[in-house]
Every structure is written in C-alpha cells, then in structure tokens.
C-alpha cells in the first residue's frame, strides 16, 4: 500500500509520528500518551515527537511520568486492560531493559495466560540508532529480543508515510506493539500521508523492483540499501528491495515471492548479526527454497560488539550503502 499524497509539502518522520498520534487521539478518546517528558511543559519529549499533544488533548490524556520504566509500562498495561489504548514512550531502546518484566512477562502474555479474557492493546514507542556518538547504552537495536517474544508485534518504519501508517495501525491493533523509531532518521523528509492512512501490520513493501538479488531490510538501514542499489546497477546487478516494515510477524509471502524470482537474498539490519532477525529470515528461506537458491542467504548487521563511541569505530559499526553493495554484489558473482 502506497501513500497517496494530498499535501505536496514533504514531512519528516518526526512530524509524521506526531500527526499520527494527534489524529488517533482526536478520533478516539481512549488513546492516551505517557512517558518521560512527553507533555508540553516538558517540551514534548527530548526531540519533540509528542509536542503539542498535551496542550491540545489535556494532561489527563498526555502524561509526563517519572523516570520509572516499569511504572510506565505497568500503567499502560493496566489502563489497556480497562478499555484504553495507551501509547507509552520508553525514551531509548536500551531503557526497555529496565521494563522487560512488564513487556515480556505481562504485556506479551496476558492474552494467552488469561485464555483470551484480557488483552493488552498498547503501543510502546522507543527510539534508537547509531550516529550520534552516544556509545554503548543509548543506541542499540534490540528488536530480535521482542520479535522472539510470543505475543509481541514489532514494527520499524523507514519513511514518513510508513511512520504515520504503521503508528495508526499499531494503535488500532488489539495486541502489544513495539514501535521502533530511528533517531538519525527523524528529520528525513518524505511524502506526507493522508489523514487516516494505515499501513497494515505484517505487510512488507517492495521498495524497488529488481531481478538478481532480494535485499530485505527495515528502519534506517533501508535508506542505506536504496543508496547501495545505484552502485549495484553500475556493476550490472539488479536488486529488488523489500522494506519489511513489520519485523514480527514478518511478511513471508512478499519475501518468498521476491526470492522465488531472484534466487538470492541478503538481509541487512543495524542490530548485531549474531542471533539477529536476519538469522530467522535466512533459516526460513533455506527451508523454503532449499535446492532453488543460487547462493547462500547473506546476512549483514553490526559486528558482535557493543556500539562504540569513537567516531571512526562508530561509522564502521552499522551497515553502510557501500558495504551493502559490496556484500550483495559478491553474493551474485561468487556463486
């Protein structure tokens, strides 16, 4: 599903998320926002994603919280059990570690453990991403942990229209959704989606068609993949690019259709490669396409190390367009 622009003026991912929250709150009074600094007296969050919401909807619906991650997610879970649709912000993805009990043991499992009597329609917004010299504890991608947790859904937009559409879908969804925002991409401009635009969860997008290799990615690395495509074309390699958009449950149908066509696949993400999302997709593809693949499924992520501070080390950490092109071309030439 592609956005049909009704507004020629481009918007950033940050503005798109803000609009999605505002539109959802305007349409449905059960939608709440809570988190550290999210209300306007606290400047609508550290980068202003929730700016204007408390002024417009009141501080009963948009609540700044203490720095208490367990209390934030617990409050969201409890409110969701009695009919609300809270959007809870955990400022940075590394801080989800402090609230893992609430997320993994409670939000993800209450539907199952109650035999379907209760459910937890919450959205957990969180941001992360290298590039700001934040070092080891402020910019990890930890999506695999949550994708591995039965009951959680995980989404990661790569452009403003999807950021809007996935947020609207996440708020409407009856189950807990982790919504991963990328800090270096907040100011990336793109087509403005129309009000009410929804990107269904679990549906990937073919960002570019191609014939020689499928590259699956999401979030900021998708931008790097699109950058790699040009260099690949110069080398005579045509790549089909799939933006996963929803990491769990992932869109096997779209990925399978592409790999059936190209016979090759590379999965690129910012998280550490070992035990990452790429491993799940690669294993699934080898089971599905054993004997048909023209090359082993490739994975490209960060090295098995925490995010470094020093600038050249940090720059070498996440996959870049150049590195993606190099690995993808090798997969088409060496086999």
């Amino acid at each position: 599903m592609n956005a049909t622009a009704t507004n020629a003026k481009p918007v950033t991912i940050l503005q798109a998320i803000n609009s999605a929250l505002a539109d959802a709150m305007a349409e449905d009074e059960t939608v709440l926002v809570l988190g550290e600094d999210v209300a306007d007296p606290e400047e609508g969050g550290v980068v202003g994603v929730t700016k204007g919401l408390s002024t417009r909807f009141g501080d009963h619906r948009v609540r700044s919280t203490p720095i208490s991650e367990q209390a934030i997610i617990g409050a969201a879970i409890g409110a969701s059990l009695v009919g609300f649709r809270p959007v809870a912000e955990i400022m940075l993805m590394n801080f989800t570690t402090v609230a893992m009990d609430m997320i993994v043991n409670h939000a993800a499992k209450l539907r199952f453990m109650s035999g379907g009597q209760t459910h937890v329609p919450i959205v957990i917004r969180t941001m992360t991403g290298t590039g700001f010299a934040s070092g080891g504890q402020h910019c990890d991608y930890l999506e695999a942990w949550f994708a591995h947790t039965a009951g959680m859904k995980v989404v990661a937009p790569s452009n403003p229209a999807d950021a809007y559409g996935l947020m609207r879908a996440a708020i409407l969804d009856p189950d807990p959704v982790l919504y991963i925002e990328n800090l270096p991409s907040y100011w990336t401009p793109g087509e403005a989606p129309p009000t009410g635009f929804v990107v269904p969860l679990g549906k990937a997008r073919v960002a570019k068609e191609g014939t020689d290799i499928t590259i699956v990615s999401y979030s900021r690395v998708l931008t790097e993949v699109l950058g790699a495509v040009e260099a690949m074309e110069a080398a005579g390699v045509s790549a089909e690019v799939i933006d996963l958009r929803t990491i769990s449950p992932w869109d096997k149908e779209t990925v399978f259709a592409s790999v059936a066509k190209t016979g090759r696949c590379l999965i690129a993400h910012e998280a550490v490669t070992q035990f990452g999302v790429g491993a799940e997709i690669a294993a699934t593809l080898q089971a599905e396409f054993f004997g048909q693949l023209k090359a082993p499924v490739g994975r490209l992520g960060a090295p098995y190390a925490p995010v470094p501070f020093s600038k050249p080390l940090e720059a070498a950490y996440a996959p870049t367009a150049a590195r993606i092109a190099e690995v993808a071309i090798a997969l088409t030439k060496d086999h």
């Binding site: 009963h60 609540r63 203490p66 367990q70 209390a71 969201a76 409890g78 035999g115 459910h119």
Partner: protein
C-alpha cells in the same frame, strides 16, 4: 483503630464466611495434591485468610484486584467461582483461563480479578494502570494490589508507590507481611523496620495493622477504600500475618523458626475469629457448622467438576498469542 470504620455484626459475619471458605479451600488444595489427584505448584496461604476476606468485604464487585502467585485467597475472597478456579488449577478447559493460566496466572474480570502474576513485585505497576483508567473514567472504582513483604524490595514497588502518589491514583497497596520472602526472613531481606514506614518516602499514608484481626483489618481497608474513592490517592497497608507452610507447598521449610511457627499456628486466626463470633453472639455453633458443611460440599463439587473437565485441545497451544485471526 477508630470506631468509624469498625465492622458491624453483619459485616463481621460476612468476613467470617469468606475466611471459612478460604481456609477450607487451602486445606482441600493441600489434601488433593498430597493424595496425588492433582499436580500443581501450590503456594499455601494458610494463616493469611483474614486479610483478603476483610479487604474484599470493604470493596464492591466493581472494584479491581491484581494479585500474585500466593493469591488464591484473594481471588476467592473477591468472588472467583469455585468451579472455574478448580478447573483452572487442574489445567482443564472449563477453567477461567481455559487451563492456560494455572494457579499462578488466574484471571476473572467478571469479578474484577484482572491479573495474577507469578513475578514478585509486578502486581503494583499494573494495578496503577487500572486505577489510572478508573480515574480517567471517573467511575469511582478502587484497585487493590496485593503482594508480600519480599515484593517491597523490588524496584517496581518503589516506582509504583511514587507514581501512584504523584498521580493520586485510587489504588490500595496491600502488603501481606508473612515475615518470609520465599525462604529468607524479613530481617535478613528488608532494611526498613516496618514496610508501612516506606510509605513516608512516597508521601502517602502507611498503616501497619494486625492482619489476623478482622476488626482491625477491616477498619484499615475501609479507610483506604474511602480515601481512594474520595480522590485522595493511594494508601499502603502493611497487614501483619504468618504463612503456616513453606514458600511452595512441599518445601522442607527448615529455614522457618520452629518456635515462631508453632506460636503462629497456636494463634491460628480462623478458630479465634470463629470463637469470637460465638462469644459475641453474632453466630451460633450450629450456624457455623452449617456454613462450614455447605462450603465443604461446594468444594467437593468443584473438585469433581474440575477433574471431570477435559484438557484443552492442542489447538490452544498457539491460540490467544495474538487476537483471533492474527496468528503469525
């Protein structure tokens, strides 16, 4: 305790009826496990019955409760039906959670029993959220979170009390202080002399009561309920009690002081309460015998109902992970 909130004779009798049910149900649970009819992890609450019985009597059906793995007394007090309870702890399809929750994860929203958690300290953050919902709806419902003394050393306890106080949430933090955190004594695990003292750090009333005394416990519960309903925010109640058996039923409980345990069992709150009803002319021996016999019959029925119920079909393995039709 002030007399403002003292239970009248009818209320006191009502509390006893709940207490008698809880005691009989615990005794039956241990018996059913020991005779091998059911296999389950069981966290006996024997000795702690008065606390939830008095708390539940101070609430309405509409009020909410979030409890923990040692919480079957809380649920029965709040009104979970015996058949549904027993079928659930037997892992059967007629259980409140289709057998998928079990004794540590019981849910029964119809009576306000929203979550039972197996994680120490996790009842409180979720109770806050439910109470926040009531505050937003203005529906006057109160939420109770129960937990043991060990939970007051978990970060979630401190985060929750702080948030509840800042937001003035209609929530009651009810600590059932049975003097043991799993196998470790209160003194070894808890720096505060009294759990109730911790409330001061969060600018909320903290009261310590004899949780085994129905009059004292009910008064504290009523006062906290009224305060929450009036919009005056949370209360921490530290109800002193004693757990007669080990952490999980069947453990050796060698870590428990034998003299302390014997003294607590000699002061069993249930027969004391029973004798009090007769002494004060609230009930006759014959009335109590009839009530207790009826409870035994109801439990007989529930146990047989549970054991006759089918196990869930294997399709339940992957059902309720997401909403129906949203299986990954």
């Amino acid at each position: 305790m002030t007399s403002t909130y003292a239970p009248d004779r009818t209320t006191l009798f009502g509390i006893y009826k709940r207490v008698a049910l809880l005691k009989a149900n615990d005794e039956r649970s241990r018996k059913v496990i020991m005779t091998g009819r059911l296999v389950m992890p069981y966290y006996s609450y024997r000795g702690q019955e008065v606390i939830p019985a008095a708390m539940a009597t101070a609430l309405t059906d509409d009020d909410y409760w979030v409890t923990i793995y040692r919480g079957i007394h809380d649920m029965l007090a709040k009104g979970m039906p015996l058949n549904d309870l027993w079928a659930e702890i037997a892992g059967r399809v007629d259980g409140t959670c289709k057998g998928k929750g079990g004794p540590m994860h019981l849910t029964y929203p119809e009576k306000g029993i929203m979550v039972t958690t197996g994680i120490v300290g996790s009842s409180m953050p979720i109770a806050n959220g439910i109470a926040w919902g009531s505050q937003l709806k203005g529906n006057n419902r109160v939420t109770v979170a129960t937990f043991g003394d060990g939970a007051t050393n978990i970060g979630a306890f401190h985060e929750s009390l702080n948030l509840a106080s800042v937001w003035k949430l209609p929530v009651i933090f009810l600590c059932q202080n049975n003097l043991y955190s799993e196998h470790t004594t209160y003194e070894k695990a808890t720096a505060a002399k009294r759990v109730a003292d911790r409330a001061a750090a969060y600018n909320m009333p903290g009261v310590r009561v004899n949780g085994n005394d129905p009059v004292e416990m009910y008064a504290a519960a009523r006062e906290a309920v009224d305060r929450a309903r009036a919009g005056d925010g949370p209360t921490l109640i530290e109800a002193m009690t004693f757990r007669f058996y080990g952490h999980v039923f069947g453990d050796a409980d060698a870590y428990m002081d034998k003299g302390q345990k014997q003294a607590a069992m000699d002061a069993d709150p249930v027969p004391l309460f029973r004798a009090r009803l007769i002494a004060e002319g609230i009930a006759t021996e014959a009335e109590l015998v009839a009530i207790e016999a009826e409870i035994e019959t109801r439990i007989d029925t529930a146990v047989e109902f549970a054991l006759a119920s089918a196990f869930p079909d294997l399709g339940e393995l992957t059902r309720d992970v997401y909403a129906e039709g949203e299986v990954a």
